[in-house]
Symmetry: C2
């Protein structure tokens, strides 16, 4: 019998309890023994709770119980969750989580703590919800030098952008609708401003760098709140969609860089298949070529699927080396200023901007005009053939002053 | 130092040696120690071979060398490969392979042999080439009851169908071109008749069934050689593509079934994104919902990526329980006749076939007419809302006799 505890009975935590109840037989077959949720820790009271007998408000019921070997931390945030995770790992209990904020912030300390206590800290659910990505990246693709990972890894923004594109609603209305449907939080900042995606791409980057910690807070991040129907009209003209992409580049002969920003992405690109709350993550390796993972990036049961997958792994494999390589703080910087990165972008400007003006503010940059999409303005696609870097994009648009309307990067 | 051997220096075998040479640093970082190919076994001579010093024609150089702990079997087929795999496993050496024929045929015996010799038999590369699918299915999705897996898992047929659809060539020409480009074998039967896809779907089915062996030879299989431009015209009218799909269904309240056949698949379905030599595999679990894996399903380096990933896993994890659950022969049948399965299909018939005739030969089946796609014929979409099973499809089309032109299933 494997005994586990769930910390936090919110959306994901209750999903974990439900998945274990629902798939009891399957889990026992996989483990070779039964598994049960022994305790659920939450300070709140819940009505009509089918797991009421398992509830406790006393943390000692979890941390002092030697029978409990694996703890699912589904509290979220980086405060109580942080304290409880440390307490569990210090007691030699493996911890699995969907908490990207905590992993992105304290991953090094928590993985080292797990290592020294002969237990493990797993976080498959922290990126891409239920989509298998961390373990495949770490193990199945281990033969590759990964040069790039790019993902639509925030379901809230992808839902909003899909609604804006398909229904024609503007950003504010789409956000309100997403909140009503439970796809966006009442305080939606972390999602719409790209902070959530930034944490997730930093986690993937650390995996790709064999455990060298990537501090997500230094990643250049732009959210989707300024995306308009006019931007979408240009994307459609280019047979493309607008998606919030999180990209980590790990080129062999240049510096690592990362960015989170809305991008125009061709409908021919497999990544663009992810609409609504779905996520997709594309990985490029020097042996595998391009590979993509697609599925529900959030949601109670999908996220619980990944958490319970980690629970099984933690319960089954006492050989801790079967897990993720513990992170560490590298001596050299692992992520550099992205302003040297090549970039392709669409800029929208007043119609008085001539080709000559473009050539003067974006010297040496290859470009083409996109006319007739929105009245009273003109578009330019800048930077084909790696002829522009981020620095030039920013300085050039600044120089255009009042003539500049908006810019959006092209993937 | 991890010492490995490669058996068979063909396309995949040479790819394995090249990936290990190319990514030496990455592999050592992952393993914590260097890895080298110590021997390559092949009875043939190779010109301009950068690995000539490692070549041997004497199998004892591999099997009697205690330093060699992992063997990559890239011979193919189920004869010499079978003997060599048994010899390696009996000597306690783990074996990794891309050989779907051998796994599909002798998987039970070989996994049991590995188990009793405290080594492992891994075959991530046997399905989907480089795409991570077996390990994600087995481990990351272990919390789910998987009810369906459907895949485009044969690159040769997908290349041919893509060419037929995009360029308008007929089957014979597209096959010839695929052969010239090396995407099809000189004897293409195993690919175009669906035998290769059949073996692969049987392997995935056994993983889903927690190791219960699925005999691929009983799976109803239709190849793509009878697909015509007229079929493709109907697919396009339906905003769809034609793909060779391999499907395993594991419904909770009905019998397991499997089929390999060309299907009409909507362009809205994420699976349909796989064109050319790319593969895609969709999995449905009761917690995760729908998830999809996409990438190069064949090719030297992509396949080698998966083989080398398995080599690392075999070398790293002495805890064999970290690997695939060994297969076994179940007492009860695990796969049933598919003729009871619900099916939706397009049939093409002579224009004299009236709605009334359709109602009489397909009693109780819901249908709709598709007119005007090909001169001198008419199409019917049969079996919406689970109103038709395979048996009725076959008997009804037989009853139409000379009025029947072709049928193609709809996914």
């Amino acid at each position: 019998m494997v005994n586990i505890a769930v910390l936090g009975f919110g959306v994901v935590g209750s999903g974990v309890a439900e998945v274990i109840a629902m798939n009891e037989k399957q889990l026992a077959a996989h483990l070779g023994e039964p598994i049960r949720v022994k305790k659920i820790l939450d300070i709140r009271d819940f009505e009509n709770n089918p797991f009421s007998e398992l509830m406790t408000k006393n943390a000692d019921d979890v941390f002092l119980d030697p029978e409990i070997s694996v703890v699912a931390e589904t509290i979220g945030g980086a405060q109580i969750a942080y304290e409880f995770t440390k307490r569990a790992l210090s007691a030699g209990k493996s911890v699995v989580t969907s908490n990207k904020e905590l992993v992105a912030k304290h991953g090094v300390e928590l993985m080292q703590l797990a290592l020294s206590n002969h237990c493990t800290y797993l976080f498959e659910a922290s990126v891409g919800g239920g989509i298998p990505i961390i373990r495949p990246l770490h193990r199945c693709l281990a033969a590759n030098r990964i040069s790039k990972v790019a993902g639509i890894i925030n379901g809230t923004t992808n839902y909003i952008l899909t609604q804006m594109s398909e229904i024609g609603t503007d950003f504010a209305d789409a956000l309100r609708e997403a909140q009503q449907k439970g796809y966006a939080e009442q305080n939606p900042t972390a999602d719409i401003e790209g902070h959530d995606a930034r944490r997730k791409i930093a986690i993937l980057a650390s995996i790709i760098l064999n455990g060298a910690y990537v501090d997500n807070t230094v990643i250049h991040t732009e959210g989707i709140s300024s995306v308009t129907q006019e931007d979408i009209a240009y994307a459609k003209r280019l047979d493309s969609k607008i998606k919030l992409l999180a990209i980590f580049r790990h080129p062999e002969k240049a510096r690592n860089s990362a960015i989170v920003a809305p991008h125009i992405i061709s409908r021919q690109d497999p990544l663009s298949v992810a609409d609504g709350v779905f996520n997709a993550i594309a990985v490029r390796g020097n042996a595998i070529g391009d590979v993509m993972f697609y599925g529900q990036g959030a949601g109670k049961m999908a996220t619980a699927s990944a958490v319970v997958g980690d629970i099984l792994d933690a319960a089954l494999h006492h050989d801790r080396s079967a897990h993720i390589t513990p992170w560490y703080n590298a001596e050299e910087p692992v992520l550099y200023d992205h302003s040297d990165s090549f970039v392709k972008a669409l800029i929208r400007v007043k119609p008085s901007v001539t080709d000559r003006r473009i050539e003067s503010v974006f010297p040496g940059v290859l470009y083409e005009r996109v006319d007739g999409v929105v009245d009273g303005e003109v578009g330019f696609i800048l930077g084909t053939d790696r002829s522009m870097n981020e620095k030039t994009l920013l300085s050039g648009t600044a120089e255009l002053g009042d003539l500049f309307i908006s810019r959006i990067r092209i993937y």
